[in-house]
Symmetry: C2
Subunit: 351 residues, 2 copies
DNA sequence: GTTAGCACTCTCATCTCATAAGTGCTAACG
DNA sequence: CGTTAGCACTTATGAGATGAGAGTGCTAAC
């Protein structure tokens, strides 16, 4: 069934108004402020009809109308008025990423911070899955105290390191050699492939089998997601939104965001097809609290994933602002990472 | 003025009772449950006197008594009944640290988690200051894309790394050489000394001065505390304590713990003399919220600092439990880190 | 020094009541 | 047939009012 233009208009007004004020919207206020050519009674009829269609709900008879999750979805897809960020905000993004250290952990932190600051919501970020990353460099460095440090760098500039126990009698030279052999064996391989070549590699190491075992275990452990890869910024921002004057909502919210596992699940199921993903209430994901929404974007540049980022906040979220911020941050990232890769490429040629 | 034994006893009862129940303590309940040989009127007189001495306060005339910060302090120093953890808790600590990866970041995370789990309060941890750490290993690894990875390991097993831009024309061999030179120059030096030798070192590098500049900048940056070194665990635990049924308290608390800077300041001013440090309300530290207490312990083993850890929670905190947990965690850490160093020592000799 | 007794204070939950906001329905209008 | 004015109905909200309960301070007697 096609919705009449007037219904669409009214629905848009209700959602806009509710997002801005957090107050249920009445027929009177619509007729007075936005649709001056009809009476409140007419609006009332339309509202009743929209309620029947499932777009609006009432807390109680005399409480005005509030959008349903379905209304928010429709709003995002068809009603929301597009428009870009202010100069100030664009500038802020620009400056935030200028001259940033370029490993993934720092990137995740600054992206998350920027998103939280600009949207005024709590932001969540998670770096790219190490899983399918190719090992670009791997080295074993002597620590001189019975341990060596295993360091790897992946294509997407993810860093991982572990201490590896060194057997008595293994000299620094031995270690250097082992390091070179390991580099030959693993560079260019994806972390997920390590387990496939395990047997083969171990066979090559007669003498220092034990070391190799530890190295392989470490590499395998890098494919597992880590709590510390999930970054949360601006938890306190929820207090800027009136739904969190209520202690139970706060409790609920804080419990969810305290569990990095849960957070990773909520923002983590990457759907590369969709750039921006909106989950409204628990309809779309049972791990999202009923009264919350989660908007995420998965970024990539030059074919490399840069992770998934988003905001979590009240279902009455400023979707337009949030989506616009996510889009612009994405563009900015593409810009700087793209440029950097060009520069790198040049270097490569010259060498 | 010396306090009478009965006053001490009554004060102890009030603090114990209030810590357990969160309900202001009345003269009647004391006389009935704990001091059956005197009447409530007698207790009443003593309570009035303790109030005059500054140990107790009342919210309102008919509200029973509540300990003042001064009372908590006195309680901790003189009244609190000592006693160790349950077998179960001791076991938990034991198991938690067994077979843990041994770099500092992971250690900080698990220590903080253990403390939060056992105490049921929000826990904060911060690793040792990198500032005075000696560089044990330093290496520059080629990444083959116009960047190199600078990695350092310090005496206390702190890891730091940065990407360093490599000028066109610098080959992998050049890099290897540079890495060796850098190792010779910096190994054994404290990070805080780097700035002192800056000029001297730069003089040695004619050709790759720029690289060296970046290396030194990176090293200098490692002395600065980083947000990510402050670890927070169990923020949601505050909801287990009734003072945080009140939204304003939650807001206050969450705002403080959201700022890593603030947290670092609160738990950070290390006083090596004192093993366990208790800050009660804002009397002892203006950054601590009025209704909160912070108990911290600074750990070290084998002469190396292991960081500062603690809990932050309501001023009505189970100080005995918290202090006992912190003490036992300290002992456990000494145990495992001590052992590990012995083992390392042996290796050293054998090599 | 201790205690019983009692007046006093303050909180808290409950109830009532009036007000305000908003709706749904009906009947009239163009 | 869509639109509108009018009105009865529902519900939240905030302001008293009230009574019970808890705890204290004080006084006088032991």
């Amino acid at each position: 069934m096609k919705m009449s233009d007037r219904k669409r208009k009214i629905l848009q007004i209700v959602v806009d108004e509710y997002i801005n004020t957090a107050v249920p919207v009445s027929s009177k206020s619509i007729a007075e402020k936005h649709l001056t050519d009809v009476s409140s009674a007419t609006v009332r009829n339309e509202l009743a009809s929209l309620e029947e269609l499932g777009y609006l709900t009432q807390f109680h008879t005399s409480g005005g109308r509030v959008p349903s999750p379905q209304a928010y979805r429709f709003y995002i897809e068809e009603l929301m008025e597009k428009g870009n960020l202010s100069e100030k905000d664009l500038d802020y993004i620009e400056k935030a990423f200028a001259g940033k250290s370029n490993d993934v952990e720092h990137l995740v932190r600054s992206v998350s911070k920027v998103i939280s600051e600009l949207t005024d919501y709590t932001s969540v970020g998670i770096g790219p899955h190490a899983d399918e990353e190719k090992i670009r460099n791997i080295a074993l460095l002597s620590c001189g105290d019975g341990n060596a440090l295993l360091v790897i760098v992946t294509g997407a500039r993810i860093l991982r390191d572990s201490f590896i126990g060194i057997p008595e009698g293994m000299t620094d030279e031995d270690l250097d050699n082992a390091s070179r052999v390991i580099a030959k064996l693993f560079e260019g391989k994806a972390l997920s492939e390590v387990k496939d070549v395990e047997e083969e590699v171990l066979a090559e190491f007669g003498q220092y089998r034990q070391v190799m075992h530890e190295v392989i275990d470490a590499l395998k452990s890098y494919t597992r997601p880590r709590d510390e890869d999930v970054v949360l910024t601006g938890a306190e921002k929820i207090f800027n939104h009136p739904e969190y004057d209520d202690i139970d909502n706060v409790k609920n919210f804080l419990t969810v965001i305290s569990s990095k596992d849960k957070l990773a699940e909520i923002i983590g199921d990457e759907n590369d097809e969709i750039q921006i993903n909106v989950k409204i209430g628990s309809c779309d994901d049972k791990d999202v609290p009923e009264d919350c929404s989660v908007v995420t974007a998965t970024y990539s540049a030059g074919g490399k994933s840069l992770g998934t980022y988003g905001v979590i906040g009240p279902i009455r979220m400023d979707y337009h602002k949030v989506i616009t911020v996510l889009e612009n941050v994405g563009k900015a990232l593409e810009g700087i990472v793209g440029n950097k890769d060009n520069k790198d490429g040049k270097h490569g040629k010259d060498e």
